[in-house]
């Protein structure tokens, strides 16, 4: 009886607050399937528990392309959603168009400056104030290896690119595919950026992909990177063109191939197949001097009018970076929290390694944003880079010419 009274009182209270201004937020996203959909539901529940009204605006079709078209139309017609799943430099593009809200009030209240790595702050800030909220961090520079296959040739996961080549040659001689790879431009780009980080180092990576310095793009170091790409081309099987990344992951699982270079969304495939990290598969960072390539999803907050909408937006922003949501969401999606210093007990060993590495690399400045996943470069420049990378990977273009073309294409795309 008491509980009935209590709950009806709560309902009354909720009604009263609705009459005032119920915090409302329309959320445009493309997380419509699997763990991602569950993760969004978790956010919705949190938001509604705090008295908010959630308007779900999922874009079917599973990609940012369809969403971008919807968003463009909504912004042009002057009715943007409150929060939109946008990441990387696209945030800056929308901020430059004057479409994003200023989140400084929420950010100061919850000390975002202290909990986010500096490099990630740069991504979600525009002219010094927050305009977007990071949801998670995916690490890109991973090698996923099958330890049983490596044991067949007495090899360990390589820690330098030279070692990588030696191990690959051994595997090839033993009739095993050294590297499982899918020949799609973004996958070629993923491998390419890990090689750039490994051979050039974090400073070179930033010069080439963040500053787009033509001298770095067309440098001897870049020629060396393309040389390594040419070698890697010899370590993939002949049927790789067009293969989806998860099929490549399955090749590693089945023991047909020894390794795959892919971001940690690949971990989800292993876990879904009931594989145990450390035993059935190994996660190791790709060879580099303690670097870390980061890919982060985030929600950009658009300028909305009306008290209820502004309140809803701020509530949503504070929830997204709250410890509770960061943990549930990232456990479901297989990524790691964007905020540092969280309890690690529920995460698996790969995620813990990722969290620790992120903290360390954030401190010594070797944390870089992904080029292939549109964190440091927007669609145009990224596309121009990938054009050259994939053309080189699929033809007999010389490394020198590829480096030259890289500089030309990037200049053309700006």
């Amino acid at each position: 009886m008491k509980s009935v009274l209590l709950s009806s009182a709560a309902a009354l209270f909720a009604l009263a607050s609705t009459a005032n201004a119920q915090p409302t937020a329309e959320v445009l996203h493309y997380w419509t399937s699997g763990g991602e959909a569950k993760a969004v539901q978790a956010l919705k529940k949190d938001f509604e528990a705090k008295g908010g009204k959630w308007i779900d605006a999922p874009v079917a079709g599973g990609g940012g392309d369809a969403q971008a078209a919807v968003l463009r139309a909504r912004v042009l017609s002057g009715d943007p959603p409150a929060a939109v799943q946008i990441k990387g430099v696209n945030i800056r593009d929308w901020a430059e168009a004057g479409a994003l809200a200023d989140l400084s009030a929420v950010a100061n209240k919850y000390h975002w400056d202290d909990i986010l790595p500096k490099q990630l702050q740069d991504i979600v800030k525009y002219e010094g104030h927050y305009v977007a909220v990071p949801v998670n961090v995916h690490r890109v520079d991973w090698i996923w290896a099958n330890p049983k296959v490596l044991a067949k040739v007495d090899a360990k996961v390589p820690t330098t690119w030279e070692e990588f080549n030696q191990v690959a040659e051994k595997l090839k001689a033993a009739g095993i595919i050294p590297l499982a790879h899918g020949g799609q431009p973004w996958q070629d780009g993923t491998v390419f950026e890990t090689v750039v980080l490994g051979i050039g180092g974090p400073d070179f990576y930033k010069k080439a992909f963040v500053d787009l310095d033509p001298e770095a793009l067309n440098s001897d170091t870049m020629v060396k990177v393309f040389d390594e790409m040419r070698k890697i081309r010899g370590y993939v099987d002949p049927d790789f063109p067009g293969r989806d990344w998860n099929l490549a992951t399955a090749m590693v699982m089945r023991g047909e191939a020894a390794m795959q270079i892919m971001g940690d969304w690949a971990k989800g495939e292993f876990l879904a197949a009931g594989k145990v990290p450390g035993k059935d598969f190994i996660c190791a960072s790709t060879p580099s001097d303690k670097g870390y390539i980061l890919n982060s999803d985030s929600f950009a907050m658009f300028k909305v009018k009306g008290d209820d909408l502004v309140q809803g937006q701020q509530l949503l922003a504070s929830l997204i970076l709250g410890e509770k949501f960061q943990e549930t969401f990232n456990l479901l999606k297989g990524s790691v929290p964007a905020r540092m210093g969280m309890d690690q007990s529920k995460f698996d060993s790969c995620a813990v390694k990722s969290m620790n590495d992120m903290k360390e690399t954030a401190k010594n400045g070797s944390l870089v944003g992904s080029m292939a996943h549109e964190i440091v470069q927007s669609g145009a420049v990224r596309g121009a880079i990938l054009d050259v990378v994939t053309e080189h990977f699929n033809s007999d273009m010389s490394s020198k010419e590829a480096a030259k073309k890289l500089a030309e294409n990037v200049a053309l795309a700006q």
């Binding site: 392309d65 799609q184 002949p238 927007s378 669609g379 990224r382 994939t390 033809s395 795309a413």
Partner: protein, 291 residues
């Protein structure tokens, strides 16, 4: 009053669709043309910027590949589909048994969407899953058919799948035309002792000229707007070796936030279509009036 209304009725009925086409086809062609002369990137801007987008377009390797692929693909697709369709029609025209069933079988691919065609052929042509693996497992070890993963050959794979899809339709077009040829003339030719081949080459096929025109028009617009087949079959790859201009336009406009270049490439596609179709239609239609 009513008489007047009746007089105007055709115009009134046609007016809404005429208006819609005016705005949504020709209006947006003009809009796209205008945007191709601006700096538009993520959002359209309307400040003119000269021919810069076109110079950028023509200095991109990717556009070169896509544009020359269009000619390879369109010419092979149209010619091969017409030849195969025509041959099938002539063969089916020999009053054979079960013609109805055969006709349905050949026509059926047209009922399938390009996405399905592309996916099915992707599996069949994949060297480690499809034809190559099958023949090798039968013992023909040296059999090799890996065009789909070969940068120089992948565009021909697109041609094969497209021809498979469209030639049955061309066959149906030709078959109905064959049936409508005046039987009296054919009988007269028989009486004069003309051979079967001679009758087809000399009388029947030339009388089907309008059907060639419609087959050409239908196939060429299928070729130019081809987009989904490439997406499903090769994903534009290996690399970007098998992309067509429509894929290029989509990639630039919607993925890379380069609306200006996307619009410029769309205008180039329009210009290409116009350059081929206008003279052809002109000569065909004028020829008819004089005849």
């Amino acid at each position: 009053m009513l008489d007047r209304l009746a007089e105007r009725l055709p115009q009134i009925v046609v007016a809404p669709s005429f208006l819609l086409i005016l705005v949504f086809v020709y209006g947006f062609i003009i809009w796209t043309g205008y945007v191709s002369f601006t700096k538009s990137k993520m959002l359209p801007v309307y400040k003119l910027d000269g021919l810069r987008q076109y110079t950028r377009l023509f200095s991109m390797d990717r556009w070169d590949v896509a544009y020359s692929n269009l000619f390879v693909f369109a010419s092979l697709f149209i010619i091969v589909a017409i030849i195969i369709g025509c041959l099938l029609a002539v063969l089916l025209d020999q009053h054979i048994r079960a013609e109805g069933a055969l006709r349905t079988i050949y026509l059926y691919p047209m009922a399938i969407s390009f996405i399905v065609t592309g996916t099915a052929w992707k599996w069949m042509l994949n060297p480690s899953l499809g034809l190559e693996a099958y023949f090798q497992s039968l013992g023909w070890e040296s059999f090799s058919f890996n065009w789909i993963v070969d940068k120089d050959m992948s565009i021909y794979v697109v041609v094969i799948a497209a021809v498979w899809q469209a030639s049955g339709f061309v066959m149906a077009l030709f078959l109905s035309a064959l049936r409508s040829v005046d039987q009296e003339i054919i009988k007269a030719a028989y009486l004069d002792g003309a051979s079967n081949t001679r009758i087809y080459m000399g009388i029947i096929l030339p009388s089907m000229r309008p059907v060639f025109l419609s087959a050409f028009v239908i196939l060429s617009h299928l070729a130019i707007k081809s987009f989904d087949l490439v997406v499903a079959l090769t994903g534009g790859g290996p690399g970007y070796a098998s992309t067509l201009p429509a894929n290029f336009m989509y990639e630039m406009t919607f993925r890379r936030n380069q609306i200006g270049i996307g619009a410029a490439s769309a205008m180039m596609m329009l210009a290409t279509v116009a350059a081929i179709m206008i003279p052809y239609l002109y000569s065909e239609l004028r020829g008819k009036k004089n005849g």
